[in-house]
């Protein structure tokens, strides 16, 4: 199925969670083979209201409440996808992938490969990631690096309502297993969202703001923080370019490289722990492809090497924010 970029004009604003919901509903109308299974997705509408009203429209055949059994839930999706359906399975909190990682990593991601290409696994896994709600160490993680490391999986991280809808639609239309990492803090945030169904191409980065002095590559919720930092820096006469990869696997490195060749300075920011995070991968690739263009080493900003804390004051200190991003850009500019 082709995925087209959304129309440029939108006349209304929608919340992130409603944009997701709308995209999912439209994808379900578009394709009878799309169904949703998960814990409390049908009767309750999902703990984050992601699935509100879908049971009313699509009924219990296509909206399935399952036992709390994440491994069987993902396995259900794998088996159903292998038989030609397009399942959307919801894992609620991303932290729960630990209990079903085999089905994601060894089954969903490898099935096409091991079948010699004879089938595809058009499975969409939706989940909520990120800190900021005081949900503490087992309900707040950003584990995209785990998943992006696995050949066969795709991972998307919508930064706003517009991308939440478009990436969700593309994930469902895609013939590969795709993990849609919604961000908990963004659920109530709004942006302009076209009413019609649209997909945002997977594997293509978006330049959220153009600038000439520093390239900031920001994942998920960090896009908003980076744009806020850009406003702050603009007042100081510094223009930063903000790149939102949108899809972290596959990663659109070409857009990043092109930006780096123009700005010569790079900061990568993500909510996940810095060590072994995607910032390390992105920094390495930039060094490999554009070392001669760099005026300073690639800087990474992420979380410290710690579980996500509960106490709001600690949690706030844990997650990168606009101030740290702005400070990082200033540090990069001090080097020459």
């Amino acid at each position: 199925m082709t995925t087209t970029e959304a129309p440029a004009v939108a006349t209304r604003k929608l919340t992130y969670v409603k944009a997701f919901n709308e995209g999912l509903a439209q994808a379900m109308r578009e394709d009878e083979n799309v169904f949703v299974a998960g814990e409390d997705v049908a009767g309750y509408g999902g703990v984050f209201r992601m699935f509100d009203n879908l049971l009313d429209e699509f009924g219990p055949r296509r909206m399935i409440d399952t036992p709390i059994s994440e491994a069987a839930l993902v396995g259900l999706g794998v088996g159903a996808a292998a038989r030609g359906l397009r399942p959307v399975v919801d894992l609620m909190f991303m932290d729960f992938i630990g209990v079903c990682l085999d089905q994601i990593v060894n089954q969903a991601a490898k099935m096409k490969y091991m079948f010699g290409g004879a089938l595809s696994v058009p499975l969409t896994i939706t989940t909520a990631s990120g800190a900021g709600l005081g949900a503490a160490a087992q309900h707040s993680q950003s584990l995209e690096a785990w998943l992006a490391h696995v050949p066969g999986l795709k991972v998307v991280m919508p930064c706003d309502a517009y991308t939440a809808k478009g990436l969700t639609v593309s994930a469902i239309r895609d013939d590969n297993p795709v993990v849609v990492m919604l961000n908990k803090v963004l659920l109530g945030s709004t942006s302009e969202v076209p009413e019609e169904i649209y997909g945002i191409p997977l594997g293509r980065a978006h330049t959220a703001r153009q600038g000439s002095d520093v390239t900031v590559i920001a994942l998920g919720r960090m896009v908003g923080e980076a744009l806020a930092a850009a406003d702050e820096l603009a007042a100081e006469g510094v223009e930063i370019e903000v790149i939102d990869p949108r899809t972290v696997q596959p990663l659109d490195t070409e857009t990043m490289f092109a930006s780096v060749r123009r700005t010569n300075r790079v900061l990568v920011v993500h909510e996940a722990v810095t060590f072994g995070g995607l910032g390390a991968e992105i920094a390495a690739q930039i060094q490999d492809a554009a070392f001669d263009y760099l005026d300073a080493p690639v800087l990474r900003i992420g979380a410290p090497f710690s579980p996500v804390p509960f106490s709001p004051v600690l949690e706030k200190a844990y997650v990168p924010d606009r101030a740290r991003i702005a400070q990082g850009c200033r540090r990069l500019l001090e080097r020459s």
Partner: protein
């Protein structure tokens, strides 16, 4: 105690001549495929690992003879027997063991991952228990699409200690899906005897925890397995939900490979006892005794199968190796 289905039923004691011959042929095909593969491994011709199914043939044959081509199965890392019995071709299977590009997985899977979508063989699996929820998903898809195919998931006694078995059984039961759970209880989880990994005598008792009926059958008797499978499959196909069959069986060879029948974890006497109840000998003796088939007819099955296997091995050996330039093939769709 498990809620037991009526199966072991005497009512269907009569199976047709055709079914007996079918069961026999499926078992001979597995036996010869496996023993020849074992020889190739011993000769150093095959890379990787080889988990042989010899001894357990009655289970695969008995179940698969109750299935249609559009019924789906998920298998274990000891999956050759299931694949052969489901109708996967010798050529693509041997070619896969050899790592050739003509193999069932284009040389990307090997012995532990043979599959064939066209035969409803949804894959042998290198992860113990992982096929269980996948079969549940296949059954879900059948019902969703309004088809009446069923899914069968094969697993060993050891796999019933892992979460996916329990989650999958409960999921199938609560959703009322057409899944048949077939436990091939060969008494060992790798090298650990059943008494060392669970306190139950009968794995079938675990089905009761999920409100699922179960039946225990002699896994060396293909006819008995077939009867149970026929009932479970019919039950699933009719919409009555999942059921479990526990087949008590035995693997002749080691957990992996061919050599080393003398292992401290089981005695020669024990192996000999089970071998004395060989599933193929059993069905042949019965067939000859009751006039279902002549010895010559049975021998002919062996001969034809040997010829077919020799050709398949020759085909595999003559097949090209995968091209390293295609290393990234089929990682993603599109």
């Amino acid at each position: 105690m498990a809620q037991r289905a009526s199966t072991a039923s005497k009512k269907s004691a009569q199976v047709s001549t055709q079914v007996i011959k079918d069961l026999h042929e499926r078992m001979v095909r597995i036996r010869l495929f496996e023993t020849e593969a074992g020889k190739l491994m011993e000769a150093g011709k095959l890379p990787g690992f080889l988990h042989l199914y010899v001894g357990q043939e009655a289970v695969a044959a008995g179940v698969m003879a109750a299935l249609r081509d559009d019924d789906q199965i998920t298998s274990t890392h000891r999956g050759h027997g299931h694949a052969v019995a489901k109708g996967v071709g010798f050529r693509e299977m041997y070619a896969e063991l050899y790592g050739r590009v003509t193999g069932a997985c284009l040389g990307r899977g090997g012995s532990m991952h043979i599959n064939d979508l066209t035969r409803g063989m949804l894959g042998a699996n290198g992860i113990v228990g992982a096929g269980v929820p996948i079969a549940v998903g296949a059954a879900f898809a059948a019902r969703y699409k309004g088809e009446d195919s069923v899914a069968v998931t094969f697993f060993g006694d050891g796999a019933t200690n892992i979460g996916t078995f329990h989650e999958g059984a409960n999921m199938a039961a609560i959703l009322g899906l057409p899944v048949v759970f077939v436990c091939e209880n060969n008494g060992y989880a790798e090298f650990t005897p059943q008494s060392g990994h669970m306190l139950l005598t009968d794995v079938a008792d675990r089905a009761a925890a999920y409100g699922m009926p179960s039946v225990i059958v002699d896994g060396m008797d293909a006819v008995a397995v077939h009867r149970a499978a026929t009932e479970a499959v019919a039950r699933a196909r009719s919409g009555a939900g999942p059921m479990m069959i526990e087949a008590k069986t035995y693997r002749y060879f080691d957990h992996q490979g061919v050599k080393g029948l003398r292992h401290p974890y089981r005695s020669d006497e024990e192996v000999a006892e089970w071998r004395a109840r060989d599933p193929i000998d059993l069905i042949e003796a019965r067939a000859v005794a009751d006039g279902t088939a002549t010895r010559a007819e049975l021998d002919d099955v062996w001969r034809r199968t040997r010829d077919e296997i020799a050709q398949a091995i020759a085909y595999a050996e003559a097949s090209p190796l995968p091209d390293p330039a295609d290393l990234l093939l089929n990682v993603y769709s599109g």
